[in-house]
Assembly symmetry: C7
Homo-oligomer: 249 residues x 7
Amino acid sequence: MQGQSQQQAYDRGITIFSPDGRLYQVEYAREAVKRGTASVGIRTPDGVVLAADRQVSSSLMEPSSVEKIHKADNHVGIASAGHVADARQLVDLARRRAQGEQLRYGQTIGVETLTRAVTDHIQEYTQTGGARPFGVALLVGGIDDGEPRLFETDPSGTDYEWQAAAIGSNRNEIQEFLEENYRPDADLESGIELALRALGAADDEPVDAENVDLATIDTDDETFQTVSQERLESIVAEIDQPDAEESDE
Amino acid sequence: MQGQSQQQAYDRGITIFSPDGRLYQVEYAREAVKRGTASVGIRTPDGVVLAADRQVSSSLMEPSSVEKIHKADNHVGIASAGHVADARQLVDLARRRAQGEQLRYGQTIGVETLTRAVTDHIQEYTQTGGARPFGVALLVGGIDDGEPRLFETDPSGTDYEWQAAAIGSNRNEIQEFLEENYRPDADLESGIELALRALGAADDEPVDAENVDLATIDTDDETFQTVSQERLESIVAEIDQPDAEESDE
Amino acid sequence: MQGQSQQQAYDRGITIFSPDGRLYQVEYAREAVKRGTASVGIRTPDGVVLAADRQVSSSLMEPSSVEKIHKADNHVGIASAGHVADARQLVDLARRRAQGEQLRYGQTIGVETLTRAVTDHIQEYTQTGGARPFGVALLVGGIDDGEPRLFETDPSGTDYEWQAAAIGSNRNEIQEFLEENYRPDADLESGIELALRALGAADDEPVDAENVDLATIDTDDETFQTVSQERLESIVAEIDQPDAEESDE
Amino acid sequence: MQGQSQQQAYDRGITIFSPDGRLYQVEYAREAVKRGTASVGIRTPDGVVLAADRQVSSSLMEPSSVEKIHKADNHVGIASAGHVADARQLVDLARRRAQGEQLRYGQTIGVETLTRAVTDHIQEYTQTGGARPFGVALLVGGIDDGEPRLFETDPSGTDYEWQAAAIGSNRNEIQEFLEENYRPDADLESGIELALRALGAADDEPVDAENVDLATIDTDDETFQTVSQERLESIVAEIDQPDAEESDE
Amino acid sequence: MQGQSQQQAYDRGITIFSPDGRLYQVEYAREAVKRGTASVGIRTPDGVVLAADRQVSSSLMEPSSVEKIHKADNHVGIASAGHVADARQLVDLARRRAQGEQLRYGQTIGVETLTRAVTDHIQEYTQTGGARPFGVALLVGGIDDGEPRLFETDPSGTDYEWQAAAIGSNRNEIQEFLEENYRPDADLESGIELALRALGAADDEPVDAENVDLATIDTDDETFQTVSQERLESIVAEIDQPDAEESDE
Amino acid sequence: MQGQSQQQAYDRGITIFSPDGRLYQVEYAREAVKRGTASVGIRTPDGVVLAADRQVSSSLMEPSSVEKIHKADNHVGIASAGHVADARQLVDLARRRAQGEQLRYGQTIGVETLTRAVTDHIQEYTQTGGARPFGVALLVGGIDDGEPRLFETDPSGTDYEWQAAAIGSNRNEIQEFLEENYRPDADLESGIELALRALGAADDEPVDAENVDLATIDTDDETFQTVSQERLESIVAEIDQPDAEESDE
Amino acid sequence: MQGQSQQQAYDRGITIFSPDGRLYQVEYAREAVKRGTASVGIRTPDGVVLAADRQVSSSLMEPSSVEKIHKADNHVGIASAGHVADARQLVDLARRRAQGEQLRYGQTIGVETLTRAVTDHIQEYTQTGGARPFGVALLVGGIDDGEPRLFETDPSGTDYEWQAAAIGSNRNEIQEFLEENYRPDADLESGIELALRALGAADDEPVDAENVDLATIDTDDETFQTVSQERLESIVAEIDQPDAEESDE
């Protein structure tokens, strides 16, 4: 009780430090991320894979409108987990920033530069009063000078670069799965498979292709491309017969 | 009690995160939506149907002044549920945005683009201090390049696309009814019938045509049209004899 | 007690939602309206009648200075109930808006358009921090293209159109009286009588003409006109002998 | 106790509504008015009389510096009760407004128009946050087109027109005295006498001329004029022998 | 206890009214004045005397730097009591105002006009949020058209005109002493003596000339002049032999 | 307990008055000054000495970076005690102000004028909301028209002029030492000695020259000069043999 | 308990003083620094060494993205400890400031000047309301006119110059290790060794080269240079055989 009432004293109003140097509002925003369905990113030499679990609450809802994977620029995709409307704000910021780079300097924005623009914006909302932090984490994947890159942004405004990463619900379980199964030299197709298997890892059962949003950014053509539902289904079907498949490979 | 007093600590003042990552003010705004009478939207190949239950508190009140269905542009209608005055602000925003598109670019605004303009505005009110969220949900229906579209906006600033959706009072019961009875290939007339039956679904008795506001946006002429009280009454009358009617069809 | 202290948590500071989706400051503003003396509006084919009960606290006070009926434009009148100084702000807004329409577009403002300008202003004060809602309800009556119109604005910023309506103290009793006695085809004179009888309805005794402020907006000449004290007294006198009068009519 | 702690919840910070629709800060400002010494205004056909009780706390204080009656324009005077420094702000506002009218339109401002400018300013301080209401009531007396007028402004921003009115300490007793003794057809001299007797009414003993500030605005010459201490003393002396005097008159 | 906790509820944050119509922050600012050493002002036909008790906390402090008497303009002096840094702000305001009058209109500012500029500024800080009241009282002395004038400003923004007045510590005792000993027709020299004796009155022992700051504004030459330490000492010496002196005079 | 909880009520949020007229935030800022190591200033006819005790927390820290004595202009030095970063802001303000005077008017700024610019800035932070007071005291020493001057600024924005003064930790003990040992006619060298002995006075043992920052502003050349570590050491060495030295002198 | 609840009263909302003159929010920000992994800086005649411990939470995270050492300008590096996103803001500020100096004045910015620009920015966030302090400490190392310099900034906005310093987790232990082992005349290679040994000092075991980020700014070429992972590994290997190595040296 004592501990609880002390904590409450530092986690309201504007974002301020607690006696042990924590920013509770930022930590609570991380909880908002965990309340969202999972997204994963996989970096392969051939390109980056972004995949997201989307929960559709009704059979009458258009699955495509439950946005989890967004195209930020021709060569950059963003997967999100957490507060949907917050994610849209950050994706819009990324798009404007990418277009601005094109317009002002006539060049494609770097994936790392773009990620920083987003995390600077997120940080500001954790320090200045009168607003709450963004309740969303992003995976930003794309191609920088022929190199596939994959970044994560968190609600504190920190960014990390990953070979493979998970955000959102069951993050720990999925990340553990990725650590055990990721092979840096896998091709894009294997990356897609890994992503799909990772999304199902927490439940210990295959993911339902209908509930998955998946896109790739290919290293060669540097282009964001959504993977069709049909192809996802056929890949998931193969995953379901892992013994046969894996021995084939 | 403990739980209650903890919750209270995070749901006042500006919109901030609770320890479990929730935005209570947004969730309370959703309660304001549930306090409003129901609205439904039905997408058919021939057009979109928007229908709303309106409660008239006195026989001397002009039913038409209890606004639930609004024309946002020639080809877009909006049904609302929740705080009436808030709805009017968002409808006005949508109208100005549609007119602006026409004036600046000489073109009709897309239904999805228009919905996003509205949800961006809603999201801002959930993050920046000094204001409360909008206590209203909207159904935005219209025609995009010959395709009927139906979107929902919620108080968090999220939008969803639907084949058929309900907002407001008894949402769950009505949505369930829609899931059981919606046929994607039904014509507009059947859509109107379905909408009327859906509005009555929660009470298990036919809706009173006098208390209904209904409009369609036809796929062919892309035009918002209010359905007259007379026609509504004749349709409701047919619904009341479902056995005969349904066998005819 | 528990319920009470919970309620108190949501009704202070800026206007925010309570857990059940209510805006307490707006509901309290409605109580401010109930604390004001009653006003009624009657729409007849021949014009609109606005009447108000005004309580004069001292025999030395000029009754005319207890403003309850205001001329907003040549063809529009406004009756108010609630916080007097707030009413004056809204009436002034309406006047400026009507004059602006005349100056900018050279045309008379519509009664509905004018009402909306007022309710938009009221709504803003319920959503943005740093101010309280307006503690007043208005009845806006006037002629639109030869059609008599009667609108009500409430402290949430909602407007309703009425055939006959009451606001302020004893609203429910008076509205019930109107529902029982209103005839849509009555002439203006009968409308005035009904208004006067309605104001006395809650007390079950005839209203005192001295305490009434009454004006009409005639459909033909579209002009706001205050009814003189003498005429009011003669009408009240006739009402006091209802049997004789009503059989005459 | 319960009632008390509930009340306290609504009367702090910015001016907001209590559950029963009251604005406590405005009501407390009215208490500030009652803490001030009384002022009275009397309207006669020959002009308006403004008189004020001024308490001088030390024999070394210049009585003239305890301002209770102010000249706002040639034809308008203002008597105040309550917070002295607040009164000065409103009187200055009235003066600037009167001068502005003269400069911009080359005409004398109406007494009612001037009063409204003041009450609009007062109202604003009761609705917008970040300031407290004005703790002062005013009596504004003057000549409008040859007609003597007398208005009161209260801390809510409401104005009333009076034949004779009292504000400040013992308001109720003095107003009652005025209601019993006011004669609408009395001449200015009688008005002065009535004002002086009214100020003494609460104490049931003659007022001390030294503690009175009194001015008239004559209907004929429309000019604000302070009545000299000598003349006040002689009038008070006459009042002290009421039997003789009144029979003379 | 009950009373105490109620009081506390109204005296924090911005300056607001208590239920009995008081402004506690202003009353507390008056306490800040009482915490300062005393100042007195004496008006004589020959000029105004301003004198102040200054407590020098160390023998190494320059007494002249403990500012209590300030020259505001050639013909105006200001004595202060209370918060020293606040006093300096108001004195600077007065100086800028006096210079502005000279620059803009080429004329010397009136003592009353100058005092009002200061009290208007003080009042503003008692009504608008985001600042505390000024914790200082001033005595403003000077010559207006050959007439000596002496004003007091208090933390509410009220001004009073005096023949002789005291502010600060032991105000009541010193004012009482002045009431008993002030003679309106005394010459400037007697005024200086009275001021010095008044400062010592509360302690019932002669004031120490070293701890006194004293200046005069002469009616003839209308010039602020500090009285030298030597002269003060010789006057105090004379006061110490009151019997001899007073009989001489 | 009672006293304590009452005090707490007035010392938070913006700087406001307590019921006894105190500004707690300013008093707490004075405590921040006491938490800083001591500084002393000595005025001699030959110039001003500023000396400061600086505590170096590690043998690897550059002592010069523990700033306690700052050059504000050629002829003005500032010693500080309290919050180091706050001191730097005020010193920067003083520097900009001195440069501005040079640029705008082509003249050297007066020491008193410069001090006032600083205290005006400090005062503003004690009255206007949204910021805390400065937690630092300064000793401003310099030459005004050939006259050595020494001022102190405190967190309330008050300034005092001194012959010799101490600020910061052990202020009372050091000031007492100065009062006993200061000779107004001592030469600069003796002033330096006195400053060094004063800094050691509270501990009753000689100060360590390594921990002292010392500068002089000479009356003749009006130039700020830091005294070298070597010279300080040799002076301290002489102080340590006080009997021999003092008899020599 | 008593002490605790008192402390809590002063450490929330904007940064204000506690009764003992402390700024709790700043002290809590220092705790945020301690929560970050350690960084050390070593100044040698040949250049400055900056080294940082970086904890990589997953084998799939790119270690290079856990930024602890940043290049601010060609000749300046910055190591950080604490809140990562805050550090990036300050590093960006330093970069813009360095570029601005180059653009405006065509010259390289001084290391001390650059550090001050950063600490001024940090201080502002500790005094003005509406924001929290920066939760980060920096070590700024570089070459000023051929001289190696090493500064520390802390969350209060204070800067210190060091020969060798540690920030972040285990600061005290590491600083102690540095004090015992630092030799001012060591060459750059020895500085790198000392930095690596210091980072491992708290755990009493050699640091893992993989978890270290290390850069040098050479005195001769005044250029920031990251030390490669290979070279770090070979140096750590030598450190692990200290007896052999140290006797060689």
